[in-house]
């Protein structure tokens, strides 16, 4: 009896291993239109589909540029439909990344480019392995959204050896490797622009006592935003005073604790700089608990300056609670990534793929960006 059971169990196990490999094979072929489970932020999808009709003319320029690139690619003999692009995500942890992911998928689908992805959950070693696996898979170009630009260098070196072009999405790679293009925003310049916007609308004699939240110290963008903020406020010493700097490692709970601790230590703080909208919900709930969440222009309003352009932030601006957000145009950046990847696979020269970004504030949200919903 037991023997029978054992045999069955073993048989099932063998079958399951084989079945998994089979399913895997099937998945491999059809992974162009990513499997349903790879859309963790499905709520972001409807927004995403409306997002491409954004006011930003840059986006439409980009898409027409992609089309021209593809036609150039097909002229060059490399049909877009022959191209496979591997995308290595650090993690889909914010609406910006979800928008990025959805746009790249959609863009690949519309161009007939085969899309395949891996998500590293911010584990840099895992990301390196996944990139190596793309090499084994024989993709034509790899788009990398790195968890850590420095630690990903050794994997990029292997891509270089295998002659597979690498496109960096949103975050630059460290030294010692070659990338075809880096698609990102000038984070420092963007933060500078939004702080200068605040300066421009602030009546003379106002004194801002600032709480600065910092992202992850291994993230070049986080550092650029920190530098942008600190350097810009240093230009206006009469207006800004930095009271506290709180590292968050991009974690909401640490941002919340940072807000609570800062206000318990110093109740006069009236300005918060958030380096990402991913931290904004935590900041808002911290302020609500402290009874300090007031609208722009109301008594006791804490000036809130943030970054990314997530739907949460844009809603909060529309409702009048947040002052300004610097928007990295994730839709545009994602399209630029695909454009660069297609260019690279076709063997074309790299162009300038910088995304300028834009600011949405309580002043222009009802006019210039009335249709903008964020990511």
């Amino acid at each position: 009896m037991k023997k029978e059971m054992l045999r069955k169990a073993f048989g099932i196990a063998m079958a399951s291993v084989m079945a998994i490999s089979m399913v895997g094979c099937g998945g491999g072929g059809s992974s162009s239109s990513a499997a349903p489970a790879s859309e963790p932020k499905s709520s972001a999808a409807p927004e995403a589909s409306s997002a491409p009709e954004e006011p930003s003319s840059a986006a439409s320029e980009a898409s027409s540029a992609v089309e021209s690139a593809v036609s150039a690619a097909s002229e060059a003999g490399a049909e877009a439909s022959d191209i496979t692009i591997g995308v290595s995500w650090c993690a889909i942890e914010s609406q910006m990344w979800a928008e990025y992911q959805n746009t790249i998928k959609a863009e690949c689908e519309s161009l007939g480019v085969t899309y395949t992805e891996s998500v590293a959950e911010n584990d840099v070693q895992k990301q390196n392995q996944q990139i190596e696996d793309f090499i084994s898979q024989g993709v034509d170009a790899i788009i990398i959204a790195p968890a850590d630009g420095e630690a990903v260098v050794s994997a990029i070196q292997e891509c270089n050896e295998a002659n597979i072009p690498v496109i960096m999405a949103n975050r630059a790679a460290g030294e010692g490797c070659e990338v075809y293009a880096t698609i990102s925003s000038d984070n420092k310049a963007m933060v500078k622009r939004e702080i200068e916007y605040i300066v421009s609308i602030t009546p003379e004699g106002t004194k801002y006592r600032c709480l600065e939240l910092v992202g992850s110290l291994t993230d070049v963008n986080a550092i650029a935003r920190q530098e942008g903020f600190e350097e810009t406020i240093a230009e206006y010493p009469d207006m800004f005073e930095l009271v506290s700097t709180v590292p968050t490692e991009w974690k909401g709970d640490q941002a919340l604790a940072g807000v609570q601790n800062t206000f318990s230590a110093d109740d006069t703080v009236n300005f918060i700089f958030s380096p990402s909208d991913a931290l904004l919900p935590s900041i808002i709930s911290g302020l609500q608990q402290l009874d300090k969440y007031a609208k722009v222009g109301e008594d006791g309003h804490i000036t809130l300056v943030t970054f990314d352009g997530a739907a949460d932030a844009v809603d909060a601006i529309r409702e009048g609670y947040v002052d300004v957000v610097s928007v990295q145009d994730a839709t545009n950046q994602a399209k630029l990534c695909v454009q660069a990847a297609v260019d690279a696979a076709a063997g074309k020269e790299a162009q300038d793929y910088t995304d300028a970004g834009f600011e949405v504030s309580s002043q222009n949200i009802e006019s210039e960006y009335a249709d903008f919903t964020g990511y």
């Binding site: 037991k2 023997k3 059971m5 054992l6 169990a9 073993f10 099932i12 196990a13 063998m14 399951s16 291993v17 084989m18 998994i20 490999s21 089979m22 895997g24 094979c25 998945g27 491999g28 992974s31 990513a34 499997a35 489970a37 790879s38 963790p40 591997g86 395949t116 891996s118 998500v119 959950e121 911010n122 584990d123 840099v124 070693q125 895992k126 390196n128 392995q129 996944q130 190596e132 696996d133 793309f134 090499i135 084994s136 898979q137 024989g138 968890a147 850590d148 420095e150 630690a151 260098v153 050794s154 070196q157 295998a162 460290g174 030294e175 992850s216 110290l217 291994t218 590292p247 490692e249």
Partner: protein, 321 residues
């Protein structure tokens, strides 16, 4: 009949590795080429070494959570010592000093773990969880969270080099595994390890010192973590506080799939190495197939569950015989 018996007596994990490997060779495009196999082998090295170390602590009924944190700490400390951007300018001496410090760090925290567990009679998971937090904290304080780069070229060659398709790093990993195998099977300490894991009191009565045995297991696990740090640093060519962040499940997975009892007293190093290879192969194959990450975790979990239950059924059968 005899060969059938022999085949049946082979531990389940070997079947799993063999079936999965052959299935992958046949069905997975891009897997059956030498460069891909070499990459696969170099990816598994850190996991093999860490799993061997933790294996010893599981054998006596404990666990070592510190190992993944030590992996990260050793890469940032060792990396900063040997870095060409460091004060020693990446000289040969710096390289040697870096390697030495990495092993010593592992040894040091192994001693702290072993001492706390045996002297204060604290459960190993509490002690090693606490030291894990301390070690993680130290790594972040030491670097400010930034990664360490600029490894000397000799070290880079070591990290990328191979003989045929066998990376140098794999040779280190197999070396560690062989030493651990000999320690667990051929030495008095090894036999005591199993004895303490099976029955603490009986071991004590029969003259084995559980304190010494347990202490040594944690020290060895610490040293393994230090060596794993060296291999990781060579493989990645940079040190980061983030290394090992999601690795602990894979370590325990390797040990459990290999048929080691989490309650202690039973398990073979060779099987744990096979477990690590299996987990690494599953990761790699599913990646190559373009399966989304969340599915990979799910499938890995299922396979560990199936493998562990099959092993248990077999053990029960053996016991009934």
């Amino acid at each position: 009949m005899n060969t059938l018996k022999k085949l049946k007596s082979i531990d389940a994990i070997y079947w799993f590795v063999a079936v999965f490997f052959i299935a992958a060779l046949i069905f997975v495009p891009g897997f059956a080429n030498l460069a891909a196999l070499e990459r696969l082998l170099s990816q598994g090295c850190v996991l093999i070494i860490l799993a061997c170390g933790v294996h010893l602590t599981v054998l006596n009924g404990g666990v070592d959570f510190t190992s993944t944190a030590l992996l990260a700490l050793t890469t940032v400390v060792g990396g900063s010592i040997m870095s060409t951007k460091g004060p020693l300018g990446g000289s040969a001496g710096a390289l040697f000093l870096g390697l030495l410090v990495m092993v010593l760090l592992g040894l040091g925290f192994g001693i702290i773990n072993g001492f706390s567990i045996t002297t204060f009679k604290m459960p190993s998971f509490i002690v090693t969880m606490a030291t894990q937090m301390i070690v993680n904290g130290l790594a972040v304080v030491y670097t400010g969270g930034a990664s360490v780069t600029g490894m000397p070229s000799a070290f880079a060659k070591f990290g990328k080099g191979s003989i045929f398709i066998f990376p140098y790093l794999l040779i280190v990993a197999i070396g560690v595994a062989v030493v651990m195998h000999v320690i667990t099977t051929k030495t008095l300490f090894g036999r005591q390890l199993y004895a303490v894991g099976t029955n603490h009191k009986a071991a004590l009565i029969s003259g084995v010192s559980p304190r010494k045995t347990i202490f040594k297991a944690y020290v060895l696990s610490g040293i393994c973590a230090g060596i794993a740090g060296i291999v990781m640093l060579a493989y990645m060519q940079s040190g980061s506080v983030n290394y090992g962040a999601t690795m602990f499940n894979d370590i325990m997975g390797s040990i459990i799939v290999g048929g080691t009892s989490p309650a202690g007293g039973r398990g073979k190093i060779a099987n744990t190495v096979m477990g690590a290879l299996l987990i690494n192969m599953i990761d790699s194959v599913l990646n190559i197939l373009g399966i989304p990450y969340y599915f990979i975790t799910l499938i890995k979990g299922l396979i560990i569950l199936v493998a562990a239950s099959i092993d248990l059924i077999r053990m029960e059968r053996k016991a009934a015989r």
